[in-house]
């Protein structure tokens, strides 16, 4: 990989041919690789479920109907109804929208903040690097979920503070990764050449370091996306994330847990099942993306 980049001339402008090749490789891999095809298909189905169900499904996720409370799955309520007579299918679909959107925001937020910190720490070096990395060490000194918990308790419980907490926890992952990438790329010959041609530091970062960091960033983001969904559900499960009427998956499992022991399993099982397959599919896709973008790690698939 290093030797490979050493002989690739730095292109001044325009998309590099490697970029196009990479996108092509991903598309080809999805078509030809069954191991990737299945989780991608599952994720597409979940996306459709999240965003298409409300367009044709008549039930509302919040309308209570106490007469038809705690009904098992049937034709009119394929996933049954909960203790307040709300349609579980509509709630699980709404929960999917919440989980996917919040996890996306958390992942983007963490990646941008952590990535910028890592890039600057790696390229500037010296005191800024030292300070930034000590702060990252402090964050990493906590079990991740517990720090996210502390943030929500400190700033007031709710979906947005839970998201903030999870994003904060993920910042050091990106910062450390991009710092080491920046250090590695900075010492490559083409960066030296750009420097010799008079390119400024910010130009080198924007033109050369950032594009070369993208693959590892994508790998980390794919993995962090699944973690964000899981952590959000976990925080909501103990009452720190989404609050009661919100049909977040974790909150729904909490509400339904007491009914599982009296036989009404569907209230907790359906959101839990969707949570499970979403995170599993995400982590499988993340793994495949890593294998495609980072062939050095490909021993994991032998």
């Amino acid at each position: 990989m290093i030797g490979d980049e050493g002989i690739t001339p730095a292109l001044p402008d325009g998309p590099s041919p490697r970029e196009a090749g990479r996108a092509g490789r991903i598309a080809k891999a999805i078509r030809s690789d069954r191991q990737l095809l299945i989780p991608v298909a599952v994720l597409v189905l979940i996306l459709l479920f999240a965003f298409l169900v409300p367009t044709f499904w008549p039930e509302s996720p919040s309308k209570q109907d106490l007469i038809s409370a705690l009904q098992p799955p049937s034709g009119s309520h394929p996933m049954g109804t909960d203790q307040l007579g709300r349609d579980v299918l509509a709630r699980v679909s709404e929960g999917a929208r919440i989980s996917l959107v919040v996890a996306l925001l958390v992942t983007l937020g963490g990646a941008v903040v952590g990535g910028v910190i890592g890039l600057f720490a790696g390229t500037l070096g010296g005191a800024p690097d030292g300070i930034a990395m000590r702060v990252m060490d402090a964050i990493l000194a906590f079990p991740p979920l517990i720090l996210a918990m502390a943030v929500t308790v400190g700033l007031g419980v709710g979906l947005s503070t839970a998201a903030l907490g999870i994003a904060l926890v993920s910042v050091p992952w990106y910062a450390r990764l991009l710092r080491s990438e920046a250090l590695r790329i900075r010492s490559l010959p083409f960066v030296e050449a750009a420097h010799a041609m008079g390119a400024t530091k910010s130009r080198i970062i924007a033109r050369h370091v950032v594009p070369h960091c993208m693959p590892v960033l994508a790998i980390q983001m794919a993995a962090a996306f699944g973690y964000a969904i899981l952590a959000l559900a976990g925080l909501s499960f103990i009452g720190l994330g989404a609050q009661v009427p919100t049909p977040e998956w974790g909150a729904m499992i909490t509400e339904g847990q007491q009914f599982t022991l009296t036989g009404q399993w569907w209230i907790a099982i359906f959101p839990g099942f969707f949570l499970l397959i979403t995170v599993t599919a995400t982590s499988m896709v993340a793994d495949c993306i890593r294998d495609i973008l980072d062939p050095r790690g490909s021993y994991a698939r032998i």
């Binding site: 000590r134 702060v135 060490d137 402090a138 964050i139 990493l140 000194a141 906590f142 079990p143 979920l145 517990i146 720090l147 918990m149 502390a150 943030v151 308790v153 400190g154 700033l155 007031g156 699944g226 899981l230 559900a233 976990g234 499960f237 103990i238 009452g239 720190l240 974790g250 499992i253 847990q257 599982t260 022991l261 036989g263 399993w265 907790a268 099982i269 839990g272 949570l275 499970l276 397959i277 979403t278 995170v279 599993t280 599919a281 995400t282 982590s283 499988m284 793994d287 021993y299 994991a300 032998i302």
Partner: protein, 341 residues
Amino acid sequence: MARVIVYRILGSIAAVFGASLLAFLIMRALPGDPARVILGPLASPKALVEVRHELGLDKSLFVQYWDYITSFLSGNWGYSYTLNAPVKSLFVERFPATIELALFSFIFTMATAIALALLSTYRRRPVTDGVVRGASYLGFGTPPFFLGVLLLIIFFKSLHWLPGPEGRLGIGAEAPPSATGLYPIDALLAGDLSTFWESIRHLILPSIALGVASFSFIVRLLRANLLEVSREPFLIVARGKGLARWTAFRRHALPNAFLPTLTTAGLVLGEFLAGSVLVERVFDWPGIGSLVYEAIVKQDFAIVQAFVLFSALMFVAVNLIVDLLYAAIDPRVRIPAVTAT
């Protein structure tokens, strides 16, 4: 070696210091007024000022941090207003249950992970390997608290094989005479086999739920390491000099593949020992996790605050021990010049 030890210990102290500063800043960012929470909405302004003074909230942030860290170190972890007890004594009371679950789950997790990783790499059958890989993906995507709910539905509600969410022993059952605080060991020491068996039965489901994510992670890591090590030249030499495949595998591949997972194992144990709020809540396990859960519900911030710092301490301490263990086992770590490149 001595230098490595000193260096690692100093690093850990710095990490805990940073963590305490972070915890302090996050928890003091509380938009609510702790004095208001304690006294309620009808408190007079004078009383509020008094309680704020009592809690030291009128001092500068720097002084507040100093008070916070010195009182934590001297064992004064605050007072729980909902349970009317010092936070530290609550932690001391609840910690054995958390240790018991953490250790049991850790041993269970590591043993199954090692067995499955071995099975998938040694046998070299695509089917076995596929099943193990699939299980590890699924385990990774399974939220521990949901798995707990699922296990309770299957093994308690439907099959009646294992006890439900009732803590460490059946309701009304008497705890064995305390020697270590861990019920299975205490029961064995007292020669009480039925209590021993009961406590093990109560441990099984929470242990599986707690360990599932770490299990998947360690299986994958170990499997990848085993595959990598098995291509090393020294293994070819070992086979070439006539060692049986299993002997070569056991003596040369396994230890070398296992070493890099030690760090991860340390992270796992540290996280388990900090107490899982989620899993303990599902099983009503009377450890630190459920203490914190109750505190969250009742907005008892003193407990949550102490817990956050406590968890960082456990986490860093276990990692320090693992690092030192690492240096003791693997000579490569002892020479910083080599690892620095």
